[in-house]
């Protein structure tokens, strides 16, 4: 087994035992990138090897001098390109930010630096995180490592593909309506959207501020717990970050779930769910039952209203957040504008891609005079009802289980010209963001040769029990051990 194939916890053990060095590990991942990146195109940019070598050497030196090594120390990782990195270009896969170099680090970037991880690159995404296939990137189309003819999901498609193809040991993505979980499901890796407020959003380029959350994409649940422990916690720079002590999430990974109550929301198994996905997810739920969980069907009647409510709320927040791209302080400015309003309009029209413009238009419409009550306010009220479904379910159940996505990865180009069909891909993940609760996607088998994702949802700040159940399932099922072949015609 090559070093680049291993998990964080396996590599940490090897480093601690002095069987490998950080330099050797980073070299292995760099060689892997050189070998496969041409096919996958997971990255917007990769760091210079010299810089990476220097950082890896510094970690090795510190360890050689007798320092204690952090569980993430020396581990090569990737960040979605909407997470600000001081001095390193952060583009949101948009032409409008193509040359933006942040003068500061996002809190998660800083925390990972302090844990001595090593940034190897910034991963491709749907422009401004708007999309479910990573086809909306202004720079390149990322391929699914399980079948290069298929999309990796989105919007954190580059991050999920980089981990699945072993081009990074782990990555951070962001999830506004499923953008960590859906690509994790499509690429056969583990992706967690934490509770809103658990991980600081400072330095995450905003899409929809009441829904956005940063989380880990990893090769297994143990790595997920390790990364979450490193990035969670209160941050005075994010006024929506919650002041609660952060446990060591590894302590929950006991494998013991006897008596845990798991609800199965029947609305997630309705019309539009692919037969192969249904079969694998139901089989996984059967496995959880065999492990001792008490499984019962539950109804969440407002589920079908979550998708339209989400696209109104997210687009409204986006139209406001993206007003800052005006060509004045940073970002792209159109060359041919003699007055200020023309400069704003031309800079934005030339800088934004079509999906971003579509959502800005939709959000502006929903917030405009005469339509605010009918659309935006209505959506906020429906959000209350969707959240109420979860509150009621969690009075009775510890967790909920459902598919992550109604289908496996679809073909590149298949849904590109039909925005509504693309939005439907988020139907199983969106309610979670509206409710603000945590949810994890983990591999639970294959359909049509492509990975299927099992989604587990937990109570607010219940990442512990969520990871506990995910770990128990993963260890008994073993699907996290499968590796993609990187085959298919491009």
């Amino acid at each position: 087994m090559e070093l680049y194939e291993k998990t964080i916890h396996e590599l940490h053990e090897l480093i601690e035992k002095k069987e490998i060095t950080g330099v050797e590990l980073n070299k292995s991942v760099y060689e892997r990138i050189a070998q496969v990146e041409e096919k996958i195109k997971a990255y917007v940019l990769t760091m210079d090897w010299e810089q990476v070598l220097q950082k890896a050497q510094a970690v090795d030196d510190m360890f050689a001098r007798g320092g204690k090594i952090h569980p993430l120390g020396g581990i090569p990782m990737a960040l979605k390109d909407n997470i600000c990195t001081k001095g390193v270009r952060t583009t949101c896969s948009s032409k409008i930010l193509e040359n933006f170099v942040p003068p500061y680090d996002a809190t998660v970037s800083q925390k990972l630096s302090e844990s001595h991880t090593i940034l190897v690159g910034k991963t491709n995404m749907d422009e401004f995180a708007m999309g479910s296939s990573t086809e909306n990137s202004a720079f390149s189309i990322t391929r699914n490592p399980w079948n290069l003819e298929c999309v990796p999901g989105g919007s954190s498609g580059g991050a999920a593909a980089s981990v699945a193809a072993d081009e990074a040991v782990f990555a951070l993505g962001s999830d506004t309506g499923g953008s960590i979980r859906q690509p994790a499901a499509f690429c056969g890796v583990v992706g967690l959207k934490p509770t809103y407020g658990l991980v600081s959003r400072y330095g995450l380029i905003a899409y929809a501020s009441s829904l956005d959350q940063i989380g880990p994409i990893t090769k297994d649940v143990t790595d997920c717990a390790l990364v979450l422990s490193a990035i969670a916690g209160h941050d005075p720079k994010d006024s929506t970050s919650v002041n609660k002590p952060v446990p060591d999430y590894r302590n929950f990974l006991t494998g013991e779930i006897k008596g845990m109550k798991i609800g199965i929301p029947r609305e997630y198994f309705g019309e539009g769910l692919d037969g192969g996905v249904r079969e694998k997810v139901l089989a996984a739920i059967g496995d959880l039952e065999k492990l001792g969980a008490e499984v019962e069907e539950v109804s969440m009647p407002h589920t079908e209203y979550a998708l339209p409510a989400y696209y109104l709320i997210a687009s409204a927040e986006a139209s406001s957040n993206l007003a800052r791209y005006d060509g004045v302080r940073y970002g792209y400015r159109s060359k041919d504008a003699s007055d200020i309003v023309t400069m704003f309009k031309k800079s934005r029209s030339e800088g934004f891609g079509s999906e971003v413009k579509r959502r800005i238009m939709l959000g502006t419409y929903a917030l405009s005079t005469g339509y605010y009550d009918a659309y935006y306010l209505k959506a906020l009220k429906v959000r209350t009802l969707v959240k109420g479904d979860f509150d009621r379910a969690f009075e009775k159940y510890d967790l909920l289980a459902a598919p992550t996505s109604p289908s496996v990865a679809f073909r590149t180009g298949e849904k590109r010209d039909d925005p509504l069909a693309m939005y439907m891909m988020d139907v199983c993940t969106i309610p979670i963001n509206l409710a603000g609760i945590p949810a994890i996607s983990l591999p639970c088998g294959f359909s049509e040769g492509l990975p299927v994702g099992l989604q587990l949802m937990g109570k607010a700040f219940g990442e512990g029990p969520l990871l506990k159940a995910a770990y128990a399932y993963e260890q008994s099922a073993g699907f996290h051990l499968a590796k993609p072949t990187l085959n298919g015609e491009v």
Partner: protein, 94 residues
């Protein structure tokens, strides 16, 4: 609900977007379809329901108003498309 070309032009102006004729046509059609789908929300009676803007029980998070270090002028200007004498330069406004 159909979005007219005039609606599209009005929203584009509010959004500070300059659309081509082709884009106006396309967005008009797509937004009509998307808004028709959103119309589903009207099936629910929400008269007695209060809106949820965000899910945390946090309100008015304040900190002490104390001076503290920030990025300097040079760093703040480093990404500016055009600058002059330590300021952002834009086309003439008045």
């Amino acid at each position: 609900m159909a979005i007219s070309k005039k609606d599209v032009e009005h929203v584009a102006l509010l959004s500070r977007l300059d659309l081509t004729e082709e884009e106006k046509h396309l967005y008009g059609e797509q937004l009509s379809a998307i808004l028709a789908f959103m119309g589903k929300l009207q099936e629910l009676n929400t008269d007695e329901i209060s809106p949820t803007a965000h899910i945390l029980p946090l309100q008015n998070v304040l900190r002490k108003d104390m001076p503290r270090p920030s990025i300097d002028q040079g760093e703040a200007l480093q990404n500016a498309p055009l600058q002059e004498k330590g300021m952002f330069r834009v086309p003439r406004i008045v």
